[in-house]
Symmetry: D3
Subunit: 323 residues, 6 copies
């Protein structure tokens, strides 16, 4: 390997991410952080980089770029890379290697327990006897409710079916299995049931520096109604969902999904020439969200930017870019 050619372990991980052998936000992030540790190990042993701190750093950046390019739109992957590179420091290759190993290990260790930690934080917001409303399916949101049940609290749930893909059915099933009495409703019935609900709990696809929560389409409309009805609403999201590119003002592009999720071809044919739009997500402004619950504790959405900068850097530049 040349001085900036990634180690075999990095190449393997990159390929597995690209082929989706490795998938899921947390699994990808974990693998990427570990690959960087292996790169550091390899670079510390390689002739070209073993005694040249600058070359070592360059090889780390190159490895990060290789990993980054496998999935340009994932959020957890660059967060893993940022976390580790951000903490790479030292004047010698040995210290550099050690700092990378430590950061990689810390990142993976936290990630392993993130959902459990987050669940406990969210559960602490819920009281015995509470009814929660859910939208879509989020394992982070479920972790909060399940942790509350484990704390011995009696929790009921109003579950929105969440068209077009009806992920509410999965949520209903998992809550049911956790012993939570479930009432299933269509999305349009949400406001009517808010008066019987103590907390709305949703997940997040990603979270922006300005406090906006990007989540399944319908979240923002639900949040506006929750505020109007006086019902607190929280987002449960691990910190790997924080979107550092938004620090520099970048907006998150909203995926448009296939129309067949909304209407089957036959019905559409009968109706005639219409357009069907199927955006996957929307953005909830911070003023309609009461708290973001992470494994690092809870935050008002307006201050999540501080956590984002602390964990993943200030975002003015990508740490894997050549200086």
């Amino acid at each position: 390997m040349t001085d900036t050619e990634p180690a075999p372990a990095v190449r393997e991980t990159a390929e597995s991410i690209a082929t989706m052998e490795i998938r899921g936000a947390a699994t990808i992030a974990s693998a990427a952080a570990e690959a960087l540790a292996e790169q550091a190990e390899a670079a510390a042993a390689a002739d070209a980089t073993a005694s040249d701190p600058a070359a070592f750093r360059a090889s780390m950046r190159a490895a990060a770029r290789t990993l980054r390019e496998t999935r340009p739109t994932a959020v957890s992957l660059p967060n893993a890379l940022r976390y580790v590179l951000q903490r790479m420091e030292g004047d010698s290759v040995d210290r550099l290697r050690l700092s990378v190993a430590d950061a990689s290990e810390a990142f993976v260790r936290q990630l392993d327990r993130a959902q459990e930690d987050l669940g406990r934080v969210g559960a602490n917001r819920l009281a015995d006897g509470d009814t929660v409303m859910t939208h879509c399916h989020s394992t982070d949101a479920l972790a909060c409710i399940e942790a509350a049940v484990e704390q011995g609290k009696s929790i009921s749930a109003v579950v929105k079916e969440t068209r077009p893909r009806q992920q509410g059915h999965i949520t209903a099933e998992q809550l049911r299995d956790a012993g939570v009495p479930v009432t299933l409703i269509v999305d349009s019935a949400a406001r009517r049931y808010l008066d019987e609900v103590d907390h709305v709990v949703v997940g997040a696809d990603s979270i922006a520096a300005d406090g906006g929560v990007i989540n399944k389409i319908g979240t923002s409309g639900l949040a506006v109604n929750a505020r109007e009805r006086g019902v607190p609403i929280m987002t449960a999201a691990q910190t790997i969902k924080l979107h550092p590119e938004t620090l520099t003002g970048h907006t998150v592009e909203i995926e448009m999904r296939d129309e067949s999720e909304v209407i089957d071809a036959e019905t559409r044919g009968e109706i005639g020439e219409i357009a069907v739009e199927n955006p996957a997500f929307d953005v909830t402004p911070p003023r309609y969200m009461d708290a973001i619950v992470t494994e690092q504790g809870q935050f008002p959405p307006e201050s999540i930017v501080t956590l984002m900068r602390e964990l993943f850097g200030e975002g003015a530049a990508e740490p894997w870019a050549e200086p």
Copy 2:
């Protein structure tokens, strides 16, 4: 027939309404008003009532009660009866008969052109180039959009599918047929598309004296978001939808429909023991609705009570009740 026994025409109409041979809000109302005119004709000819104004009035009230009982929950039926009985006046049977005939005819004549008149009023609120958003399927709401097209305005529509029964498909088809470009979305995508919309147009199942609009579930949540996004929203509803019982504080009972509309039995079986709730309607407070468009012109929801009292009486007592 005894002095208070309804005329055969009344009995026939009552039966046809009861068996749903006669159905649809406007058709029922029309038939009821006409039956009262026939009752007046018969009573003016019958021995027991021909020369006794009090007996004539009693026979009219009895006929109204007979008609009223066929469908206790319809709104248009009692409105027709109220409209006519409210205008019955005179000291002689002849004048009473005449006033009933006139009121019946006026009511039917207005009803015949109500949707067309209402459509023009609603169309006047729309401008060339506007995009409207619709919820559910309402012929009154459609009449506004179609009248705007007939006025030569170019109108586009964002149509919410309106789970669980997807009446948005019917709306999409009819707008498409009227030459209106249609974009179909799931209910949860509404807030995201509000920024591209100039007016929200909905119908009403009924309208309460306190200005609340009872309409298909999801209307109130849409209205709250329309206000938050600064988009005007109007309800298109003929005056037969005004609910005079609400003058005396009665609330409108919201129908709960079958859970099979929301989830098929098989999926439900797989999920396990959950409840499914399927309310058909909700109530939008007047502060979230900009205008109610009727065939008598447009009104802020807060003043619809005045029209209700003018048309159908003050509601303290039912005009068919024995004094």
Copy 3:
């Protein structure tokens, strides 16, 4: 008696009102309406007025002025006078007398049943199982809750003590006697309990043409919080509380009561030189009130002006003023 000198019955009633032998808003109003009928009777029999319609009218206005002056700040008194004079019509003294007698009788008859009618209207807004919150003590507000109980609904109440005079204690006792479970709280605890409350029910001292509700100090702050928490709030008030002078923009002067209601002299002495202010009422803007419940039905506050004009005239001039 001269042509404009009030009949003895009028003078007696005036004196009894002035000496507070006759008191209470409804009792005063009733007595005043009856006095006008007696004046009409007397004037129709007196030489100077028996055959001169203009003189008859002048004597009625004079009688009204005599009654009006006994209590310049009461609202129900001028409303009674307005109601009757407003309906005085005819070309002959006989017809004038009759119209006054009819109007007086109609007014008294309605007044007799007003609270009961109003109570039923308000009760219809409440549902079985509801918890209501009350402020101060209002027999109109209580009539709504008691009527709901009579309708077989199970109602609970959160009663604000209502400093400084603690009229909440009277409310608590009367609700308790009506079989309503009561929870007493201090005024400051209201917002905290709003989440457990389905309706706020208050009375009114008077109601202004712009929809403002003048009621016991603290009502407006409670209303703002009820709106923020999504809890509907209604004012229960007989139509004799409508304040026709506000039609012409007059504001209602708020009584400042003695400081000893707020703090006893000893404590005040210990504290030192402070001011104590003790306003009796405040004004709740119509946008924070959902409905005004009267014996004529319920109204959004924004349209109460229509009822006010219908019952008591358009207020541009006082009907007892000399033209």
Copy 4:
């Protein structure tokens, strides 16, 4: 003259309005009402119409059309015509003529004292020591402030200059002449001074059936800020400003004025190719306006539609149209 040819007096008035010899909302309305009375006089004397009620009515409609066409966009003109035709009734030409004469006279009499009456109503809303804020120049708004001064109240004013035509200068001068201390500010400074202001008082160009107030550009932005700062805002407008066409949903077209009012040609030339837009008016939604003050008393904007229908008819059809 043929049976539907207008009387000479009508033709003269029409011409004077068309040539703007007669101008000003009130003057036009007065002249039009009087012309109709003269038409009635003439028609009652003319062969073709003297004994034919239908022909008489037709001639009145024709006269109204002639007057109407002189100024298609004025609001006060059709209001005058509506007011009179609306009150034309009777089975004989004589009764018809009389009803027209009476209506015409009543209209003119009210109009003569409208501003004074309105001023007193508005003044009653103000308290001694109040500071008011004004926007643009409105004699109706000024009438309120001046009447308050005449009532002996001490009033101060914060006057917005109201770009682009700086009508605030006229307001400042007239208030100054009335003894009101004036502070002049630029439009952008309004929010900052709202905290020192007790009432905002504006006029209206016209008022819509949905409660929207059409007034000088900038009114709506001021109203939104007044609400946010908790400062009450009222519109002072005579009832001839009510816009009956809006009953049927018509929106009021906003005049676009010349760009030279905004920027002089030279500066514009230096800047280069830009557009300049100069809309004259905007629409304030009723929820941001506390009261509309008219010579008939004050109304919440949401109920002005009732007054509009009472004065000028229900607007479903124009009373001068052939049936």
Copy 5:
């Protein structure tokens, strides 16, 4: 003493706190921080811990636990422990001891001047001539007003009596002594007087990570009204009031106090079987609070979590827990 047995000084302090010989949030916190410094001194001299950094750390944790257990619900006590343990660092016992001594001293030094520093910050927000409104009695809030007076500003106060315990009387007296003109009002009169007030100043019982301010019952209702009236509101609170357990989502339990504070036994007996609820505190959401004023400067409530983490750690674990 064994390696983890607290030093005598710690045991004494613990006992004095438990017996409430030492009380008051600041005094307890000070004593706890000093006890830890004494523990460090003792542990550095004891055989078992003098040369074993791990044992030294364990002894510090044990001491902290001993102190913590004396008052499980106080906020300032764990904050003192967290502050010191958080800053304990070093590889040798000597460095550990030194870091504890430094942290303890810094904490106490800051605490000593906290109220004075905080007062100046709060005073800087007030302007000469301002009127402030207060709720309950808070020495931190008073410090702001008194500092403003010391800065030569003329300040007036509207003091809410604050039922049920009328702590407003104490506030009134202390402000009066500071030369501040005071007007005392009942709690319900607050909204009415907000229009005459420039700032609302309240204290805090504790402050949550989500920006919620826990303070005397009635604060949240006052804050909602202050926002509606456009009046800024600030919380004055030393940083020892920040509640680190809320970082992990824990909610603050609201004490229910005895009913006798609300109603005397005799009156209660007369009323009959009612419940009386007497919650001591409520939670004001951050969106209704403009600033939190601390001795470290002012913060929007939404960012107080950052200060909390900086001072007292990230709260994922209690620093005195065994790892």
Copy 6:
């Protein structure tokens, strides 16, 4: 020079700032930071301070005070001094000198690229095809729009003229030169055009610790309307605009400018005795601002305090004050 006498370079810079030879927020800040570096150089070479760290520090503080006093009201000047002094650290004069040199250089380097970096961040918030609204003239705001154009996005602008000084004309010209189609409007027309606008972009005169944005008069009223219309609004401001004195509660004094900017003497003379007020700036509360865009990334206004403390210290004391 004595131990605390500033070096000649400092004195020269101070004089140039005082005489306004050096002006503009960024230029002043740059010069001040560089002067401190020169002072450090000089002090490290001077006898009295070369080997006495305490004396060296004292000379740095003295130099800072000299610079500070030249312009007591500028914000960027003390920020430069704070930034550098805040980072002065070390036990030896050599390390102290080096830390000052490094901090000075870092500060100047960041400042040089601040507007460009900030522009990119702001540009990222804009989308192709967006229309922006501007108020006044701000090079930071323009940088965002121009960067968006450079990114290839098509941007249009609605430019408020911004009375009284019409800086909108400069903005119009510069945007025009950048190829942005411009529509110029008067300030009062803003709300009407908000419906056609995707983003409002304004600059800032300074930004307070509580998230308030101090900017040209009219900004706050625009922001309130932008929120009401659902249009996002951002402030573009380099971090030298952050106002650290506000950390301690200080409010920013608003300059009152000459009345001749508002009205020429002649017109004023004609109007008579009026006051003219001409405040230069106003304060927009954080709840009406969506984001503050800086060269360090974007922040919700509620968390800008964190950046302020990070860059310029905690503000409890001025770092140039003698301890």
